[in-house]
């Protein structure tokens, strides 16, 4: 039992050390740039999925991955000035030197989240209807529909 606990704590400790070291590396090479790169990569991955998948449903999922990347990017941009949630407590002073997050990108992206959700719902409804034409939802097959 003790052995197990100690093993676990050692593993946990090692993990924490690893995370700390990783954070140190991140600090050295500017964590924001890394995060930014990863999020841009997410958007790119989503687009590649949209482009390469034949199944219509997976295409819509690819679009969703793109959307996730873009939304997270906005959140990251908002966090540049700090992580503190920009909610005022009564008559608190705003410019008190504390690290507030930028509320503008957060407010803006809220609209985009709602729009993205509703568009996805519409797309999925259309896909459900198209499933009666081609249950495999093959984009290449369905593309014959618009041709004459």
């Amino acid at each position: 039992m003790c052995c197990l606990v100690s093993k676990k704590s050692i593993v946990g400790f090692l993990n924490i050390r690893l995370v700390c070291e990783f954070m140190a590396i991140l600090d050295a090479i500017d964590g924001f740039r890394v995060m930014e790169g990863l999020l841009l990569l997410t958007v790119f991955t989503g687009f590649v999925g949209l482009l390469l998948r034949r199944n219509l449903f997976l295409k819509v999922m690819g679009m969703d991955v793109m959307g996730t990347g873009v939304i997270s990017f906005f959140v990251l941009v908002a966090a540049r000035s700090g992580f503190r949630t920009p909610i005022l407590d009564g008559n608190a002073v705003v410019l008190d030197g504390r690290d507030w997050a930028d509320p503008i990108p957060q407010a803006v992206i809220l609209t985009a989240v709602v729009i993205g959700l509703s568009i996805q719902a519409l797309l999925l409804v259309a896909i459900t209807r198209l499933a009666s034409v081609d249950p495999s939802l093959d984009g290449v097959q369905l593309d014959q529909l618009g041709r004459d």
């Binding site: 841009l40 958007v43 687009f47 949209l50 482009l51 219509l56 295409k59 819509v60 679009m63 793109m66 959307g67 990347g69 873009v70 990017f73 906005f74 941009v77 540049r80 503008i104 990108p105 803006v108 609209t111 985009a112 729009i115 993205g116 509703s118 568009i119 519409l122 797309l123 259309a126 896909i127 209807r129 198209l130 034409v133 984009g139 290449v140 369905l142 593309d143 529909l145 618009g146 041709r147 004459d148």
Partner: protein, 501 residues
Amino acid sequence: MPLFSLMSWNPSGSGLTIAWLLLPFLAAFLAALLPRLARPLILLVVASTLAMALAARLGWLPSELLLLGPLGVRLQVDPLASPLLLLAALVSAAVLVEGWGRDPDKPFLLLLLLLQGGIHSAIVASDLISIYVAQEVVGISTFLLLVQGNRAPQLWIGLRYLLIGNSVMLLYLLGAALVYREQSSFALEGLEQSSGIALALLLVALFTKAELFISGLWLPRTNAVAPAAVSALISGGVVCAGLAPLLRIAAAVESVGPLLRWIGLASALLGLVFALAERRVARLLAWSTISQMGMVLLVPAAGGLYALAHGLAKAALFLVSERLPAVSLDAWRAQALPWRHGAPLLLASLSIAGSPPLLGFLAKEQLSVGLAGPQAGLLPIAVLLLSVGTAAVYARLWRLPSNAAMEKEGKPASPGARLLVAALLLLNLTPWALEAWSTLMGQGMTNALLKSAGLLLAGFGLQRLWPKGANGFRLPDLEGFDDLLGGGALMGTALMLLLSR
């Protein structure tokens, strides 16, 4: 509550503008509850938009409106927006009278109101986020209009439109985030200093919305499958929503001018070549739209008037072509063409080809005035050749209407097309055109008239001499779903390479 505080009247401008922007959405809500009211409500919205367009043209309104502080919503009801608003209002009115007998319980009219609201916002919005929201409203309502018939091809075409539209708008949003990161503002002025990648992401989305070059390749199949009323709305109204932000960016960012010219030229050429090879009427009109939108981009300052003249004529052509039985051009030439269809058809296509005294002539003249200058180089000549090509494209539709044929049979005249063609003639006498006419008179009318006659004759001759062998020439099919996505990716990459500084 904030709504009412915003509307607490200062009648000199902002309250009026906001009330006008809200009107279509409130009307749509009302029309959902009381469908019988839909038609008068659309007329009310059209009337209010005509009034706003006139006020914007004459400078009666403050041209810029800042809501919710410097980082908030920015609206510009300015002379740039004026012709586009006029176009959107007239096309909506034409679609309404075209289907006057339409069952008001069906959602078409409701969606038309929503689309109107979206288009108005997209035309006057002038900060990146308002533009995004308005584009998405337009996209969703266009999708819903496209799938009204509930047939499988319409569903597929609608889905394709929405999926591609939303994907490029996500790229747009990414571009907006990059601009904000660099400039701490969503204002268009910041674009001048922002990085090329951000600008490229914004432009690739707007090119898709404005039906330009390879980003606009979704249009032909969409127009072929959509009902004529929806096609008319797409080429007359929806395209304005994409064009207005592009024209605003062109005005705000000087360095992007040459790039837009090249894209415009490429789009004009691509659309023209495909229109000359096309064998179906609706698709020919769509290819011609891609070509004409390219021309709009050549001189952004004259673009509003050009888009107005083109949109009116193109919507009329769609409405008339639905009333004729022929779908393919071969059958088109064989069918009898009574005057009631032939007259609006000829007038509208002559306007796009640039024949006086229609509005298209004035728009073409404005374009060549805008192009003249020492740095223009070979551009005026290229535009001249493209104009000959345009005349040749429409010469494929021309034939003399006959009086005797089909006078009794066939569908009655299209009231919507009549309205639009009347607008093409009568708008010459309004503030949108009078100034341009008077400058044209000052520069010598004879030259312009001779040039126009020469262009039309050359185009007609080109069409006559065109090899009739079999199908003319075959061009690759670029309109598959994956081609559209790939085209967008190519366009985005090319823009990033060109704009990286």
